[in-house]
């Protein structure tokens, strides 16, 4: 469908001379009244202007219209998420607990505890630059401070060394076990001395004693030290909206429990108020992929996509840099399970860094190491991730060039500057040297042989010099250029259909002659052309074929041996599930639109 010329929503309202954010019904009346002045018969240009303005307002989603009425929300960067500072708008309920109140500090008292925690993490809380008094060490607090109170301990440690402050803080905690400020003091002191485990333990103890407000910092700042008990609590709290779900998910991820991390992450989107911003959500998905948790990453990605669609945020993405990341993340998530994890991880990292082309060296070196996989990898990229494929094409070209040159005995073509890929295998050998000889007669004979060989070599060199100067290499086969215009990036339907084709191919890879391959291909093709009844038939046949696999021996050209058969069956069933869900999606849609 063609698009209108882009009109800013605000400009659209101004064109109709109404207040930005006015409800569409009122805006429509303004448009209609203006029509009298700009009739389509007499003033087509003016008419098109006000019509575009009205259409822009009419089709704007509710949240966009609302946003013109109130100031924009703040965003959160990935660093903040990783660093764990509460910069994002907190979930409801948290505001009461973590209200900034002046916390114990050996420096300025008016800083909030949030600030101080941040600073303590960076080690800047204690004024290291400030000159220390000549006699360091715990001093006696002035007599007007009541002993045993927090202030007393603070005074005691004012000029102490970091290590001594730890002991003072421990004393404070022992004396005032129910005072959260004491625990914060201890935490701070331990952090500064780099005793992270103990700092985490301090937060944990405080939390276990029933003190409020320690769980989140524990989960955020020390994810690797959170114990199972706290994690489960945190997960519950996240579900109830008392904790930030993303922090909890991150915690699980750091501990290596990707499944739970994914589950917590997905729960976050059930309540739009708790959902993180788009940047943060996508970064998390990419991190999952980078950490090679492909399955979880895919599920999380699908949840994010669904949330975007439901809340209409898709428009927000289109205009910003997140758009590129989102499309690439989608493609990355679409890659099948069989895609090599190191390459996938490299791609995820590259996307996170901003350009998939950054993964080219890694991919090239991987291809050199595993040349047999080249075709499969390239096919998977072509089918599921065409944009990524385009970005990674140099890697395939270089690899293909190297392969051909190696076959010809030539050195590989020069790689670009900064190439860090390591070549695998030898690149051909030097021409054979004539053997050395001792006797004069032999020497003459050798000389003759050498001369002949030299001439032959010279001739060979001359022949090659007359050949095209660049090393010969074959480019991978590309589709022949055709005159019609192409649609560009595929729509979700087409991407889905492409996945169907990939699933059928994955099944066929095991055994091209098998009935499963035939039925899967038939199913994929039927979906592509939109023949739902044929698709359903093929699906039923495919299921039957899979069920009877056990009683059938592997075919002649089959990849699955008796050892790998069980695995092959499992993987085929996965592909079959994918095809089935595709069938449901495409043919259910068809059932709905037919009259």
């Amino acid at each position: 469908m063609g698009s209108r010329d882009a009109v800013e929503l605000r400009e659209a309202y101004e064109e109709l001379s109404v207040e930005p954010g006015t409800a569409p019904k009122k805006a429509r009346r303004a448009y209609l009244r203006l029509l009298k002045k700009h009739k389509p018969e007499t003033d087509p240009e003016g008419f098109q202007r006000i019509r575009s303005a009205w259409e822009r307002i009419k089709d704007a989603p509710e949240w966009e219209v609302e946003s013109l009425r109130r100031p924009p929300l703040e965003d959160v960067t990935a660093e903040e998420l990783a660093g764990g500072t509460p910069g994002e708008p907190g979930p409801p309920g948290e505001a009461g607990e973590g209200a900034p109140k002046p916390a114990p500090s050996w420096s300025k008292p008016e800083r909030s505890w949030a600030e101080q925690v941040k600073l303590s993490h960076e080690g800047k809380l204690f004024d290291r630059a400030a000159p220390k008094p000549a006699s360091p060490g715990p001093v006696e607090p002035p007599p007007d401070v009541e002993p045993g109170t927090l202030a007393w301990f603070l005074e005691k440690g004012r000029f102490a060394s970091d290590a001594e402050r730890v002991d003072i803080a421990r004393e404070a905690v022992a004396a005032l076990p129910t005072d959260p400020e004491a625990w914060w003091m201890l935490h701070e002191a331990l952090l500064v001395t780099n005793r992270i485990t103990e700092a985490a333990a301090a937060l944990r103890d405080a939390h276990r004693r029933g003190l409020e407000g320690f769980l989140e910092p524990l989960v955020r700042q020390h994810p690797e030290h959170v114990e199972r008990l706290e994690l489960d609590e945190a997960r519950r709290a996240a579900r109830e909206g008392r904790l930030s779900p993303l922090a909890v998910a991150n915690s699980f991820l750091v501990r290596g429990d990707a499944e739970t991390a994914g589950a917590v992450f997905r729960d976050a989107f059930d309540d739009d108020a708790r959902a993180p911003t788009v940047h943060v959500a996508l970064d998390f998905v990419l991190r999952l992929a980078r950490a090679e948790h492909a399955g979880v990453a895919r599920e999380c990605h699908e949840r994010v996509a669904r949330w975007l669609r439901e809340t209409g945020r898709e428009v927000e993405i289109a205009g910003s840099a997140v758009g590129v990341t989102y499309a690439l993340a989608q493609e990355l998530a679409a890659l099948p399970l069989g895609f090599p994890p190191p390459v996938r991880a490299a791609l995820a990292q590259a996307i996170l860094d901003g350009d998939p082309a950054f993964a080219v060296p890694r991919l090239a070196s991987w291809l050199d190491a595993q040349p047999k996989e080249t075709k499969a990898v390239e096919e998977q990229l072509l089918v599921h991730a065409p944009t990524l494929h385009r970005a990674l094409r140099p890697a395939f070209q270089m690899h293909a060039a190297a392969e051909v040159n190696r076959a010809d005995g030539l050195p590989p073509p020069p790689r670009p500057v900064g190439w860090t890929g390591s070549g695998g295998g030898s690149w051909g050998e030097a021409p054979a040297r004539p053997p050395a000889s001792s006797t004069k007669k032999d020497r003459y004979l050798n000389f003759a042989i050498f001369a002949v060989l030299a001439v032959v070599a010279l001739v060979a060199v001359l022949v090659k010099m007359n050949a095209p100067p660049t090393p010969r290499y074959r480019l991978p086969d590309l589709p022949t250029p055709t005159p019609p215009a192409g649609r560009g990036l595929t729509s979700p339907t087409e991407a889905s259909l492409a996945r169907m084709g990939g699933a059928a191919d994955a099944i066929c890879r095991w055994d091209r002659e098998s009935p499963e391959c035939a039925q899967a291909s038939a199913l994929a093709d039927a979906l592509i052309i939109g023949d739902c009844s044929a698709a359903r038939t093929a699906r039923a046949e495919l299921a039957a074929a899979l069920d009877s696999r056990g009683s059938r021996p592997p075919g002649e050209g089959a990849l699955d041996s008796p050892d790998s058969r069980p695995i092959a069956t499992i993987l085929m069933r996965e592909q079959e599930r994918l095809l089935a869900s595709g069938l449901r999606r495409h043919c259910a849609a068809e059932a709905r639109t037919s009259p």
Partner: protein, 598 residues
């Protein structure tokens, strides 16, 4: 074929009025060029008025016949000759517009544009006689569902007839305008159902803040009152074939008579619950059979069930396009002769939950609306504050290719400007190259709604050449479609990242007549002799009487024959008073005989 038209005969309008919108040279009229009937109307003061033709009627049959002396008859006389001289007569050629189908009458092969041009010429002459001034320009209506080819064929017909037709509007929009003209102070959501002789159109509109906003249109180009008559005739033909072994459909003349009888029965069933299809002396094979088939309204409605079901589809689609439910519609307006049928009224009532209105004369509404549009175009003061916005009647796009699964699929249709877009409108879409080093992109423009180009109508093609040498997907062109109120599509192609812009205007498409062909047709048209207006009533009366003569037998036929002879001799006297008196007598006799034989 039929002359029992239950409309009062209105007196001819006086030729003296200065309120008709006129350009410097002449008047601008609105013309409803229908499948079975055509009308011409003009804005008079505050209201549009339909003008009468040579025999004092407002409906002119869309029929063309060549008389024995080679002169052209258009209207009731021609329609009457459909039964008696089918090889010299053509009717319902509107359905052939936009195709290459030709008809042969009196040895001449004529295209539908030429036949329509004859009808337009007749209307033009009638209007000029009524208004007393030349008519140079007209606004002509077409069914909303007419594609671009058909609209262009209509333009061609107008050009052949020497009429300047800049604006073609949709029939239901015209009806909406005629209706909304005096409703502009109200606010309501309405639907117009226009079931004419050959086409069915649905329009959803809203009148709000004095603006008539057309929201969506849909229709069926092959569904009209004639199809209902044909259904009855088919049923009868089947029964006759089973009974007598000979199928009347094989005999052109017999089939024409059956259709006529069915048409009468259909009309009769509008006002009564019983009717009969009567064809005395029908030729079936070798025998002649007196056919008299009684029919009840219920039975007819059972026969019409599939047609009624077809009526629902465009209605639902139009509602869906306008994003409305049937319950949101406040008024249902019926336009077009066939909407008089009770079953159609019932269908409307059931679908929308309220009684449909026929507040405008069903046959005249479209022509009246065309007159309103003509006045709007000229800036007539009566419609000074009226604003109407219309929508694109069909989607327009280009042929694209796409990577689907493992293959590259071509021949896909990507719309650029969707149907239902308020016009004039401009939409732009970006397209990419599919291969590395692709040198040119073919932009093939289509019109239609199907997802494959082969099911749509091709409008034109342009090849953008000399593209920069880049890999697939790196070269893009922005294709912009601009569609104006006159239905002209302009395509602008910009090579992204450069200043290069290419233009194409879709006006002359394949299948449309070239300028030379139109000029030639125009010349041929000038050579035709139209039957003189003053003798047209006589000619028509004779034709109707002749037609009835062929249908009757026995005593009635003798009596009619005698009356015809009397009339012919009256014509010889050349005395207008005698001629008029005898003609009226003849007319009365013909009416009486027809009534008696139903």
């Amino acid at each position: 074929m039929s002359d029992v038209i239950p409309f009062p005969r209105r007196p001819a309008a006086s030729p003296s009025d200065d309120d008709a919108p006129s350009s410097a040279e002449g008047a601008v009229v609105g013309i409803d060029l229908g499948t079975t009937y055509s009308l011409v109307a003009v804005m008079r003061g505050e209201r549009p008025v339909v003008l009468s033709n040579g025999i004092g009627e407002q409906l002119t049959a869309s029929a063309v016949s060549f008389d024995e002396d080679g002169s052209v008859l258009v209207g009731a006389a021609a329609k009457a000759r459909q039964a008696s001289h089918p090889d010299r007569t053509a009717v319902t050629f509107k359905r052939d517009m936009g195709t290459e189908k030709t008809r042969t009458l009196a040895g001449k092969t004529m295209r539908p544009q030429e036949l329509s041009a004859l009808v337009l010429e007749q209307l033009k002459r009638d209007a000029e006689a009524e208004l007393g001034m030349p008519v140079v320009e007209a606004v002509v209506t077409v069914p909303a569902y007419f594609g671009d080819l058909q609209r262009q064929a209509t333009r061609d017909a107008a050009e052949i007839a020497g009429l300047k037709v800049e604006r073609i509007i949709n029939e239901p929009t015209a009806a909406a305008m005629a209706y909304g003209l005096h409703q502009r102070d109200r606010e309501l959501q309405a639907v117009v159902l226009d079931l004419g002789g050959g086409t069915f159109d649905v329009t959803v509109l809203e009148i709000i803040e004095g603006v008539i906003e057309i929201q969506s249109t849909a229709g069926d180009a092959r569904l009209g009152g004639e199809d209902f008559a044909e259904a009855l005739a088919e049923k009868l033909a089947e029964e006759l074939a089973a009974e007598h072994g000979a199928d009347p459909r094989e005999d052109e003349r017999a089939w024409a008579r059956l259709l006529d009888a069915a048409e009468h029965a259909k009309r009769r069933l509008t006002t009564s619950t019983e009717a009969a299809m009567v064809v005395p002396g029908l030729r079936l094979g070798e025998a002649e059979v007196d056919v008299e088939r009684a029919l009840t309204r219920d039975e007819a409605e059972a026969i019409w069930q599939p047609l009624l079901a077809r009526l629902k589809t465009p209605i639902l689609r139009a509602l869906r396009d306008a994003e409305l439910e049937a319950g949101d519609v406040e008024e249902v307006l019926l336009v077009g002769g066939a909407t008089r049928m009770p079953c159609v009224v019932d269908l409307g009532a059931k679908l929308f939950g309220k009684m449909p209105l026929s507040s405008l004369p069903a046959d005249e509404a479209v022509a009246m609306g065309a007159a309103v549009q003509a006045a709007l175009k000229k800036g007539h003061e009566a419609v000074d504050d009226m604003v109407v916005t219309d929508v694109a009647p069909f989607s327009m796009g280009i042929a694209t290719a796409s990577l689907m699964g493992r293959q590259q699929v071509e021949g896909l249709y990507t719309p650029v400007l969707e149907r239902g877009t308020t016009i004039p409108a401009s939409r732009v879409q970006r397209f990419f190259t599919m291969g590395d080093g692709q040198k040119e992109i073919r932009v093939a423009v289509y019109q239609g709604e199907h997802s494959l180009c082969k099911d749509n109508t091709r409008l034109g093609e342009y090849v953008v050449k000399d593209l920069p040498n880049e890999s697939a997907g790196k070269v893009a062109i922005d294709v912009r479609f601009t569609y104006d109120l006159n239905g002209i599509l302009e395509v602008e192609m910009t090579l992204v990242g450069t200043e290069r812009v290419e233009h194409m205007v879709i006006e002359r498409t394949p299948g449309r007549l070239s300028a030379e062909e139109i000029a030639a047709a125009r010349e041929a048209m000038k050579a035709y002799k139209f039957h003189p207006r003053d003798t047209l009533p006589n000619r028509t009366a004779l034709a109707r009487a002749d037609q009835l003569f062929t249908e009757l037998t026995g005593v009635a036929r003798d009596e009619l024959g005698h009356a015809i002879a009397v009339f012919r001799s009256a014509l010889e006297t050349q005395d207008p008073k005698i001629i008029v008196r005898v003609r009226d007598q003849l007319g009365a006799l013909v009416d009486a005989l027809r009534r008696a034989h139903r």
